[in-house]
């Protein structure tokens, strides 16, 4: 290979191959166009970029470290496991990176009211946090099922001054929260900015959210060589990069800068729930088919009538029947691989990382850890696996304790 491949997705209409685009009602067209214009204007604006970088450094605490999980690696045997510590960010997950970028855009557009959807509540907390910091009104839509299982985050949002609106339509989880946020946006389009938390939704959201999250992978590009040198490993890049995929923002954030480094395997881990063949999972890439949901074409879980199916995952943040269109595309062209981790595998990884490294991961990120443990065991010690530890697990105590009490885990 002499030519470095150029990756320049999406096209001008927001398509990654046949996925992506903007499938929106006319009632939203103007709002989306306005957002797009603002994003085009500021994405390369030096003042905007500088402010974004300063916010990430001073308020979020970036760069987040990459940590060599020595005990975990040695105990597992095989490849060495490195953790990108997005769990150490302010508010406890990678979500804040994107929230700052979009909130800065909202301020420049003169929108004083921010709305957002949330599943696990991490995006809701990050949004409520930035709204408090910037003095913006904040309304968070959250499925009533998720409100039950992520109570600490609901309390945090309230504490930060946000209004949390329970969503009782449909499956009462993330996808329905997104529907209600879209309805709010259509209704209050003059003063409202819709701050989407993942690389899903209509163009330009999948691209814009990706661009705000690639700071994760860009930091890794400079951090990994330093670590490798310290450990006496003769390499620049990890052999595999692993991240969990719900909508897929943390995954795209760490994958994207590595796409052009062809020797690096990119592995997305979907929520296999009770098992990929049980129908009770959220594996949109492995078990989904092309469809249009929330403004873009991607792979979605649906029935033969094109009705979107209910999903299941122990982690609210992965409980979504679609996936960002860029992941559908990376899957289609074979640049990234997508695998599953079940509820039980994720829980077991959750406990293992807590006990062996003193790091309590979010249940979402536990899916990535679970696959890393499996993969590491099958590879030689010279190989390196980089896991995006996208969030911390404080919010999941109730879920984990309930499972332990019912005899699920030690």
């Amino acid at each position: 290979m002499t030519r470095k491949p150029i990756y320049d997705q999406p096209d001008l209409d927001g398509f990654f191959g046949r996925f992506g685009g903007s499938f929106i009602s006319e009632t939203l067209a103007q709002a989306v166009e306005e957002l797009h214009a603002a994003y085009r204007r500021y994405r390369d604006d030096p003042a905007f970029i500088t402010e974004f970088e300063e916010e990430l450094a001073d308020y979020v605490g970036r760069p987040s470290p990459v940590y060599y999980a020595r005990r975990l690696s040695e105990e597992t045997g095989g490849a060495r496991i490195f953790l990108k510590r997005e769990d150490l960010n302010h508010t406890g997950a990678h979500k804040i990176n994107n929230v700052i970028g979009q909130a800065m855009l909202a301020r420049r557009m003169g929108k004083r009211r921010i709305i957002a959807e949330t599943g696990a509540g991490q995006h809701g907390v990050a949004t409520a946090t930035i709204c408090a910091r910037y003095g913006l009104e904040c309304v968070i839509y959250m499925g009533s099922v998720d409100i039950e299982r992520q109570r600490p985050n609901v309390q945090r949002m309230a504490l930060l001054g946000a209004t949390v609106v329970p969503v009782t339509a449909g499956s009462r989880t993330l996808k329905d929260a997104m529907n209600d946020a879209i309805r709010d946006w259509v209704t209050n389009v003059d003063n409202t900015f819709y701050l989407i938390g993942s690389v899903a939704g209509m163009h330009p959201y999948p691209t814009m959210v990706r661009d705000f999250q690639t700071v994760i992978g860009r930091e890794c590009l400079t951090q990994m060589p330093v670590l490798f040198k310290r450990l006496g490993m003769a390499k620049q890049h990890p052999d595999a990069v692993i991240a969990c995929v719900g909508g897929g923002s943390n995954a795209i954030g760490i994958f994207h800068p590595y796409i052009e480094h062809e020797g690096v395997r990119l592995i997305g881990v979907e929520a296999a729930g009770l098992g990929l063949d049980t129908g009770r999972h959220a594996a949109s890439i492995q078990r989904g088919s092309p469809g249009v949901l929330h403004g873009s074409r991607s792979l979605i879980l649906q029935d033969d009538n094109g009705q979107v199916r209910e999903t299941h995952s122990i982690s609210a943040g992965l409980d979504y029947p679609g996936v960002g269109p860029e992941h559908a595309w990376l899957h289609e062209i074979g640049r990234a691989e997508y695998v599953g981790a079940t509820d039980d595998e994720a829980l077991s990884a959750f406990h293992r990382l807590s006990r062996v490294e003193g790091i309590i991961p979010a249940l979402e990120a536990s899916h990535a850890v679970a696959h890393a443990l499996k993969l590491a065991a099958s590879l030689p010690r010279e190989q390196a696996i980089l896991v995006n530890l996208s969030g911390r697990g404080d919010k999941d105590m109730e879920t984990v304790m309930a499972r332990r009490d019912s005899g699920g885990q030690p």
Partner: protein, 285 residues
């Protein structure tokens, strides 16, 4: 030529405005739809919009969401909707029927069969127009071509927020009629502003030469009449669906009939006198 292309000129000749009720297929009862459509026509409907249920109707308010969820629980998909239209057509070959829904059930229909299957089957069932809420003109090219091949009109939405550029873009592509959304919001909104509607219609009519209907938020016959004074058609959706919800079939049919008859009477107050005979025909109990 679709039935829409004859309906609007005939109404214009009579100096009357089109009354377009919207009902969700399979609501309030799985089998009621063909009978309900006939009742609506007898009560004075000129065109019927039939909602295709979808699991994630993000442009709809609570009323149509609930109707859609109910219909889905009864297993209503596109095949059932086509069957309902076919049964309606057994005894009504004149009234245009427009399917209104979201992109995914249509794309899925074709993916599991073949490209163009939806358009062909819709035409065979007797459908005259299709409105896909989340297909803006930029992505509707393939469907438009398939529908045109079968003489079906692709209907577009325009909104108070539509820019002149978009109005022009849609004017170039729209067939049948254009559906103007009266407010910024979802279906069933309660705060309709006549002055704003008038303003939006004026902007639309600078470019759109086909009939313009207005919907979203018409919740009483008086408002329907006011809208009809400035538009070519009024669409009655959430208000009608609320009047049917939870009722046994006979009661639902009676409620639909009363509501549409009342709106028809209001609209025809502004029709020219020479059409008195026509009006009284509709006013019969």
């Amino acid at each position: 030529m679709s039935r829409l292309d004859t309906t609007f000129p005939r109404l214009r000749q009579q100096g009357r405005k089109a009354l377009i009720p919207y009902v969700t297929a399979g609501h309030p009862d799985a089998d009621i739809t063909p009978a309900l459509m006939h009742v609506l026509v007898e009560a004075g409907a000129d065109v019927i919009e039939l909602g295709v249920p979808f699991s994630d109707p993000s442009a709809d308010g609570p009323t149509i969401q609930a109707a859609s969820e109910e219909a889905l629980r009864r297993g209503i998909g596109l095949q059932q909707v086509f069957d309902q239209v076919r049964r309606f057509r057994e005894s009504d070959i004149d009234t245009p029927v427009v399917l209104m829904g979201y992109a995914n059930p249509i794309e899925r229909y074709d993916l599991l069969r073949q490209p163009g299957a939806f358009a062909a089957d819709a035409a065979a069932a007797g459908v005259d127009g299709v409105l896909v809420v989340d297909y803006p003109p930029e992505v509707s090219g393939d469907l438009a071509a398939q529908l045109r091949r079968h003489g079906i009109d692709l209907i577009f939405l325009l909104a108070p927020t539509s820019t002149e550029r978009r109005i022009r873009q849609i004017a170039e592509r729209a067939d049948g009629y254009v559906y103007c959304v009266s407010v910024k919001g979802v279906t069933g909104t309660t705060t309709l502003d006549i002055a704003q509607v008038r303003d939006t219609l004026a902007r639309i009519r600078q470019h759109v030469r086909i009939p313009v209907g207005v919907g979203f938020g018409i919740r009483d016959a008086g408002t329907a009449r006011e809208i009809a004074q400035v538009a070519d058609a009024v669409v009655i959706g959430s208000w009608l669906i609320e009047s049917l919800a939870g009722k046994p079939a006979a009661e639902a049919l009676a409620a639909a009939s009363d509501l549409i008859r009342d709106v028809r009477r209001q609209l025809d107050k502004d029709a020219p006198e020479q059409d008195q005979a026509f009006k009284t025909e509709y006013s019969k109990p």
